[in-house]
């Protein structure tokens, strides 16, 4: 290696400097445009950040694939057991009449919606796939109100960056960025295949995020919080999943 010319040395130095400052700049720009996932630290942070940033850039406005009615799975796998806590049991006994979806955080008018209220808003349906990170999948018709409609009702502050949502099951919570929260296919879902949403599929209320794997579609949702700082929640990794070793972003 002793015969490296001066020119090579200078060029190499310049390239290295450009590379390092380029990386620094890229990180700043990525932060500004919300391309850094909350679980970007640790040994897998590089891969996660590349996946989230590239998919966010590619798919900001793309729609999850929708299928014809004939492709709805005959037996949609109800892989969930009803929450065993008393709160759920008493709500179920009352036919979920007292179920509330509380919305708070960076909003003008915090509110608590009953199922009847949610059903009174213009309903939408989509025939999309639920894909589990394990590898299995099914297609169903999902009926609900777009989350963007609910967020419009409460008036989201402009500095909001994420929506955090909680299940009635303790320690089950997730979050999505505003691109997903305002996406036209992100539903507060109360119906499935022309009927009520069964408990086995997350009823009475499930947040459907069809462009991500099933675990982002939290079941038995009772609470939404709009925020500009995910660090305030749990261990600051964005959702319960990274605390259990799973990725926050589940677009792949």
């Amino acid at each position: 290696m002793k015969n490296i010319s001066r020119r090579k040395l200078i060029l190499g130095g310049l390239a290295a400097t450009a590379g390092v400052s380029g990386l620094g700049m890229a990180a700043r720009i990525a932060q500004k445009y919300g391309l850094i996932p909350p679980d970007c630290g640790g040994i897998y942070g590089l891969g996660e950040t590349l996946t989230y940033a590239s998919q966010r850039l590619l798919t900001r406005h793309s729609l999850a694939r929708e299928f014809p009615r004939s492709m709805i799975s005959k037996r949609p796998l109800a892989n969930e057991i009803a929450p065993s806590n008393e709160a759920f049991k008493s709500l179920e006994a009352g036919g979920f009449a007292d179920w509330r979806l509380t919305v708070d955080g960076l909003v003008d008018r915090p509110a608590a919606f009953s199922l009847a209220q949610l059903k009174s808003y213009p309903s939408r349906s989509q025939i999309t796939m639920v894909q589990c990170e394990e590898g299995w999948s099914y297609i169903a018709e999902w009926i609900g109100v777009p989350l963007s409609h609910v967020l419009d009702l409460v008036g989201v502050h402009p500095q909001a960056t994420h929506v955090v949502y909680f299940s009635i099951e303790p320690d089950w919570w997730e979050s999505i960025d505003m691109a997903d929260a305002l996406h036209p296919q992100t539903f507060v879902t109360y119906g499935m295949n022309g009927d009520e949403l069964p408990v086995g599929n997350g009823g009475p209320l499930r947040l459907r995020v069809p462009r991500q794997l099933g675990y982002k579609s939290v079941k038995f949702v009772t609470h939404l919080t709009v925020t500009d700082d995910l660090k305030k929640f749990g261990k600051g990794l964005g959702s319960a999943e990274p605390e259990g070793g799973y990725a926050w972003y589940a677009g792949i």
Binding site: L58, L63, M71, C132, S137, Y246
Partner: protein, 258 residues
């Protein structure tokens, strides 16, 4: 007795500086990064399969639908009926993190290799078979000598034979692109932007099944590749891929002299 000692240094007719590197630095570096990534992808991929060791064709599939085939292994999920009385521990979290991180590194490394390989003429010079070697007679001769596990000739330490060239080209330009494509075709977010990437494969579950078989083909390549290295001479083939210097005893002596 080490091979190098059998050849007196006096027979060397090429000065050390004139000996070209058997493998260019970029080829060596990308080769070993790819090796590490492939092993990471293999282990993490196997762990992910264990959470649902059933394969389907078409768009959807789950434990309520008929599989194309099942792997006769236990699962890490109680949901899957495997016939085994126990459930393996869940390893999907870190497996998925590692799988995608290794995928990024190997894809970027592969891009670097492919772009530089087209510019330097690496593919044309080292991997494209010579026209004469593509005759049936030449191919069958090469095939027969491989099947007899014959030790390759001296010249083959400096250049790939025709079967090597064809299989490397197949791995680089068919299997790797296919495994990346079928991997992306399983991503609900990626296919929302590029729906045709999954529909032409027959559906999301078809993509998963093809991904599995292409991975098996890559694993088969890895096994044959390592066996052939051992047959040809482990040290003489490993040394050039690590140091760049020719791996035959002649070049080996050269290296020690410089």
């Amino acid at each position: 007795m080490p091979l190098g000692a059998a050849v007196p240094n006096a027979t060397l007719d090429v000065p050390a500086a004139a000996l070209p590197a058997r493998h260019a630095a970029l080829v060596r570096v990308t080769h070993w990064i790819t090796t590490l990534c492939f092993l990471a992808l293999l282990v993490s991929g196997a762990e992910i399969v264990i959470s649902h060791p059933r394969f389907y064709w078409g768009e959807t599939g789950n434990v309520l639908t008929t599989p194309l085939f099942k792997l006769p292994i236990p699962s890490s999920r109680a949901l899957v009926p495997t016939g085994y009385g126990y459930v393996l521990p869940d390893q999907n979290g870190w497996s998925r993190y590692l799988h995608f991180q290794a995928a990024w590194v190997v894809v970027l490394t592969g891009l670097l290799y492919a772009i530089s390989g087209s510019f330097t003429g690496h593919f044309r010079k080292s991997l494209l078979p010579r026209r004469a070697d593509l005759s049936w007679r030449a191919l069958s001769t090469s095939m027969a000598s491989h099947l007899r596990f014959e030790r390759p000739s001296e010249a083959e330490a400096w250049s790939y034979n025709v079967l090597q060239r064809l299989s490397y080209l197949f791995v680089i330009f068919v299997l790797f692109p296919l495994v990346i494509w079928t991997g992306l075709a399983m991503s609900p977010s990626f296919v929302s932007a590029f729906p045709a990437s999954v529909t032409v494969l027959g559906g999301q579950q078809s993509a998963r099944t093809i991904h599995f078989f292409v991975s098996l083909a890559l694993l088969l390549f890895l096994v044959v590749h390592v066996v052939m290295i051992c047959v040809a001479g482990f040290r003489s083939r490993m040394r050039p891929m690590i140091t760049g210097r020719g791996g035959t005893h002649r070049a080996g002596t050269q290296m020690e002299r410089t």
